[in-house]
Symmetry: D2
Subunit: 338 residues, 4 copies
Amino acid sequence: MIITLKKNAPQTEVERLHQMFEDEGLQVTLIKGVDFNVFGLVGDTSHLDERDIKANIWVENVQRVSAPYKLANRMFHPKDTIVDVAGVKVGGQEKITVIGGPCSVEGKEQICRIAQAVKEGGADMLRGGAYKPRTSPYAFQGLGYEGLMDLAAAGKMTGLPVVSEIMSADKIDEFEEYVDLVQIGARNMQNFDLLKAVGHIHKPVLLKRGMSATIEDWIMSAEYIMASGNPNVIFCERGIRTFEKYTRNTMDLAVVPILKERTHLPVIIDPSHATGDWKLIEPMALAAVAAGADGLIIEVHDEPEKAWSDGAQSLKPEKFAQLIEKAALVAAAVGRKL
Amino acid sequence: MIITLKKNAPQTEVERLHQMFEDEGLQVTLIKGVDFNVFGLVGDTSHLDERDIKANIWVENVQRVSAPYKLANRMFHPKDTIVDVAGVKVGGQEKITVIGGPCSVEGKEQICRIAQAVKEGGADMLRGGAYKPRTSPYAFQGLGYEGLMDLAAAGKMTGLPVVSEIMSADKIDEFEEYVDLVQIGARNMQNFDLLKAVGHIHKPVLLKRGMSATIEDWIMSAEYIMASGNPNVIFCERGIRTFEKYTRNTMDLAVVPILKERTHLPVIIDPSHATGDWKLIEPMALAAVAAGADGLIIEVHDEPEKAWSDGAQSLKPEKFAQLIEKAALVAAAVGRKL
Amino acid sequence: MIITLKKNAPQTEVERLHQMFEDEGLQVTLIKGVDFNVFGLVGDTSHLDERDIKANIWVENVQRVSAPYKLANRMFHPKDTIVDVAGVKVGGQEKITVIGGPCSVEGKEQICRIAQAVKEGGADMLRGGAYKPRTSPYAFQGLGYEGLMDLAAAGKMTGLPVVSEIMSADKIDEFEEYVDLVQIGARNMQNFDLLKAVGHIHKPVLLKRGMSATIEDWIMSAEYIMASGNPNVIFCERGIRTFEKYTRNTMDLAVVPILKERTHLPVIIDPSHATGDWKLIEPMALAAVAAGADGLIIEVHDEPEKAWSDGAQSLKPEKFAQLIEKAALVAAAVGRKL
Amino acid sequence: MIITLKKNAPQTEVERLHQMFEDEGLQVTLIKGVDFNVFGLVGDTSHLDERDIKANIWVENVQRVSAPYKLANRMFHPKDTIVDVAGVKVGGQEKITVIGGPCSVEGKEQICRIAQAVKEGGADMLRGGAYKPRTSPYAFQGLGYEGLMDLAAAGKMTGLPVVSEIMSADKIDEFEEYVDLVQIGARNMQNFDLLKAVGHIHKPVLLKRGMSATIEDWIMSAEYIMASGNPNVIFCERGIRTFEKYTRNTMDLAVVPILKERTHLPVIIDPSHATGDWKLIEPMALAAVAAGADGLIIEVHDEPEKAWSDGAQSLKPEKFAQLIEKAALVAAAVGRKL
């Protein structure tokens, strides 16, 4: 950690800080500069908060050198983590995982019908929302427990592992029992109590990026889950919020190589939420595969114009199947398979 | 609601949509344009989701005319809502409320000492975090229940109502009993289950703006709380996330007149989180008062350099008292008092 | 155009507006709503500015239905524009164009050496900056005219058309004579006098996206060039500014299908500026090809650590050649060639 | 400057870098850390570009300690710069300057009429655009030279110094002769050739912030003007681009105390462009005064609904006069006068 001190900091204060850092077991070097002095701290600084040190009025700036995360850090775990979701392996250098299904479960018949369709189209897992985070309290909020049962039934029928979003820690037992991959949505990426809760279960977690989360914030949320005992975290990019208005969000594909360099965890891409427009899903999905993503999660509905939510960003099953075919060609071009 | 249709939409599809909207009890006008046709819908459209209608491939665009919120809407409730927090009135045209206190409760002795200091400085309420949302799992997470008891004790001692952040619905009884103003933090602004939970209690709610929440998103979160039965919501701006790096966030003061035009609820400003830098708190607080804010919430610590969290954005008690004095002058200049 | 009027707008004002729009040759329909009334205007509204109409205090909102651009609009020019850059065709459904070269021309020897290397690596054109937009006045500002002559010489030697950025209209003759593709940089995307100037020359223009330009702003800047007489505009995405800090900018790949749907002009991608990090260039370039981009522009330097500018985002020639090979495989997978 | 090196950097490379920095006259300290090694450089590093050093593949990160600007830096020029605009003093601790006038000059009669009105309302200077940066090539582009002559006439008539935006260096003589305060607009904040051009004239410059410019970018643009010989630069905040849609831009008031701490130049605020909505101008103007701004620039039009541009964000003269009265009260409350 590098601490920049104001040139006019009193000698006693500089000495007090020096002592304080040494007392924390850190090795301290002082560099006297022209406009500022600088402390270089060597040792484990992960428990120090940059902002707490900045509270000292003689401190101009604090800069972390080592990353604040450990369990997720590639530096300490060089090998790729491959997450096993009820037998489907996510991550590694070869197979790219495809998750398909509707935004919301709308009933047993609907979810089973679409599950069958996405399976035929080439999906490895089935998605479906039972508890829905909706901006408006007057919008459909999901079928809840009943929807989760319908999803589980559709998973059983097709043999596809199922993915669904958890919105509250009090549903944790339900999810542990019936869901194979537990999703934390963008709006809850820093709901730390929920992160701790999913850190205590034995099912893997799909961690969506918050709408304005930096990559470091996002890794720290994975670290929360891992530090609570659950090592099986998959990152999912779903677009960030920018000034652009043609798309619902801006898909940030650079996260794929960055997360793979800095962490050992798999990364999948959600082009449905990232764009909000079904016409953009295919090109963005192909781009994600070319960039090295470990998977895709895509909204599929057989009657998008009647979907109870997010129809605008859902593909029809035949378009989904076409996308998978094309994505397989791109995957082959980058040495992977779908 | 205005729906733009592609010019090449088949006649049967146009008629089907027309019928569908009429079946929903809406009055429909079709305007034939040069490049597009347009449906104008009159009636209550609050249950329609723009994005669901956009799922139709012949729909180019959907534009809401009336706001999607009702209970929070000034149009239907012209009078200012004044929220009573254990006797302290927030909102209205006159008194500006000041909330002061440390980021975290660090023990009974600390919170009582600072409570006394902020009271002497002119605060109307006491803030203090017992459950802390921290980016890192390795950072201090708050004293929890014990901290809440310390805060309540300090409130009792000084007679100041207390404000604290709730992070999980399973603590709702604790908060309803011991906290006078229950805070929803920025990271949980769209934790809809938590919003519903605080919608069922009888204590007022301080709703912070999410880091990348639009004003409309934010009002919709207030609408969630109100629709669950709790009409006493206070908005709190704490800065939004932008590309600027000198400040922790960018304080968006335009929310004050906008929220006051569109809703009837009080708006307070948190210059501590909005800037992240104690040196910027005073000018930003004065600006907030001049812009018409109904209150200020300010972090105060008597030893910021030893604070367990957010010392960098905490004022010492004497600076806090000075700020209040200056803010009182600005308040008088705009016809209010502090 | 759709104009939302406040319900309490005086009848005389509504009638005055109605008349005013009819006098402009527009057909006007009035829809009386519950909370608002709405005017629907049919006809050519491209000369109306939404914000001017909003100046009327009885107007709540103005929404454009047709796009404000005409010459760039796919609706009126369904066929792809293929831009001829000194014999190299950019756009269309087949060949993907590759532009390579250093950020700055550093001398004749350097640019000729790198030109040779990028040609061998597979580039179709040579880039090199002679006039450099640098954030600091103390940083290297480019070799100017001399640099442009060196670039032209390198182009001649290798047979590669050359691309270079113009920063001021007073250099227009120089660029028209010596440069094959005239680049407008991100910082000048809304330097309207410069746009008009390049609209009057006979060389094609590479129009980079401004750091915070919406897609519509960007198309309007192309419209400026086209309206001044130059139909040969190529869009170039180079990343937008967001809160993310790991990358220099956030590359927005959704622009590729969006620009191709809304306009008829070619779109190329600059992964060097979009990421600022040479390690991210290859995956982002492959993603761009998969998303349907018509070309890539990539910074190449044989000694990045000694480059006079932007070494951090430059590839060595051997890495560039590898990238081209891999990109060719991805291009084939999406039915194109490199 | 602090340079973080990868732990596996070869010893020869570390020595080569060490030598290279010493050859630049810098004093180098090497700190050996756990995960990384760190070089601390002492001396004048303003000619080093962080990104050039990052080009070295063994460099993990580069962090500047001293600011990259000198002439604008408060550290080297502790006293406030007071800019004299044809006799009106901008900056310092006392008088707050008010600039009023229409977005566009629409003719001699109009500008003289409004000039008289703003003078009566309390303005110290007159603004008016003759060359207008418009997003659409089909929108009114300003009256040009003729408009500038009308503005100069209105200034002469009322005795108010005049402010107008320059869009191209080839108009520099016109502006030096007829304009008292030469404005660089947001879109040209990094049009470096134009910055150099206004750096060579003897009239002060009003430098608007770019839509997505960081404060440091903005100061560097001032540094460009100053380094070219013109020390009289006034900063003008006009809002930055964010995801928020209710306002045209997000006004960032924290720039006032930050620019005043880091530079010695005056800072004024443009609430008209920052909000885009006349109803928001007054509260934002009062906030700016309370935050310590040295001036306000406000769009005024006597018939906003007929204005040729930006009517939506223009105040009527009587509202402008009211605003000035209220602002004077707030100014008095913070120890200044209007």
